[in-house]
């Protein structure tokens, strides 16, 4: 558990600009920037693979891109009208890739590196970004007057309820991603030492007499590594992918509700 929170607490930079004082976490900021650069490089690499001549046979990178975008369009933006779907597709695909990269970076054991989505500031920032987009799409499709009048539906007395509902929706959107990823990281950090400790004791007792310590320690190493892979695979890769899909699905659903 120390690892998860030590990074958050030790490395926070506190700064003061006149009356404003703030704090900055270089670990999550640096990881997020590095992942962004990585994704930018991936995008440029894929872009260069697209043939200039539209009649040319499709290259492998183009097909990879097509498969990915088709997956996002079918699975995430499935029930939308065609025009909105096309205008949302690049944004939603980018959001999905970024959150997926952030979640999957939790399984890479580099010291000092944390998944940026373990930081509440990152996830709340993404949720606020989606919240602003709902207003943008609402105003664009219905006009500012009708969009604002939507808050007085069904009766004007419901205005505070609608505002509170908006706030709760955005907060829970951000908290959901944060809580899931941080919870998974805590589970890995808490359960893995216990599991390894247990495995070492049990196997040393059972196998130490049977095989001798020289043969037992590689077995313990293999089993311990297997336990680590299992935990990281479930909480890091499986849960991280599901949460990335859920975040983008909900973002698309919120924008669709505002635009209709």
């Amino acid at each position: 558990m120390g690892a998860v929170f030590a990074i958050g607490k030790d490395l926070v930079l506190r700064f003061r600009l006149g009356p404003i004082s703030g704090a900055l976490n270089p670990a999550s900021l640096g990881t997020a920037l590095g992942l962004s650069l990585l994704l930018l490089g991936l995008a440029l690499w894929l872009r260069r693979g697209i043939p200039k001549d539209p009649e040319a046979p499709p290259s492998r990178r183009l097909l990879l891109l097509v498969v990915f975008l088709e997956f996002v369009e079918k699975q995430v933006l499935g029930g939308m009208p065609g025009k909105l779907r096309r205008s949302l597709l690049p944004l939603i695909a980018t959001l999905f890739l970024f959150i997926l990269a952030c979640n999957l970076s939790a399984v890479i054991p580099v010291p000092g590196m944390v998944a940026p989505t373990q930081d509440l500031n990152v996830t709340l920032g993404l949720a606020l970004f989606v919240y602003l987009l709902t207003h943008l799409y609402g105003i664009r499709s219905k006009g500012a007057f009708r969009h604002i009048r939507g808050y007085l539906e069904p009766i004007p007395v419901m205005l505070p309820m609608n505002l509170v509902g908006d706030m709760g929706r955005t907060l829970s959107h951000g908290f959901r991603l944060f809580g899931n990823i941080l919870g998974g990281a805590i589970m890995v950090a808490v359960v893995l030492p216990v599991m390894v400790n247990l495995i070492v004791r049990v196997f040393m007792r059972l196998l130490g007499d049977f095989l001798g310590p020289a043969l037992a320690s590689p077995v313990i190493l293999v089993v311990g590594t297997g336990a680590g892979l299992l935990l990281n695979g479930f909480f890091g890769i499986f849960s991280g992918t599901i949460q990335a899909v859920v975040f983008t699905l909900l973002a698309a659903a919120y924008i669709q509700v505002a635009a209709e």
Binding site: Q75, G79, R176, G179
Partner: protein, 79 residues
């Protein structure tokens, strides 16, 4: 009250918070999964749409569990 007692009560509170808070999402997600599977068995051609809606409903049912996780973390590490 000594500091050890306070620390112990804090662990107790976090455990109770997480344990009771996990009941609701568990029941809700179980119901959602059960009815989604039932509908998928009845109409396999709807499986894709149902899976998508099931994940959204799961995520919303999970919200209160996430809130209790946050409260437990705050009790343990922040307050």
């Amino acid at each position: 009250m000594g500091p050890e007692l306070v620390q112990g009560l804090r662990y107790l509170a976090a455990g109770i918070c997480m344990g009771i808070g996990a009941i609701g999402p568990a029941l809700g997600e179980g119901r959602i999964g059960a009815s989604a599977l039932e509908s998928m068995a009845r109409q396999p051609e709807m499986a894709n749409t149902l899976l998508r809606n099931m994940i959204i409903a799961d995520a919303i049912a999970e919200t209160t569990g996430i809130y209790s996780l946050l409260v437990a973390i705050m009790i343990l590490f922040v307050v």
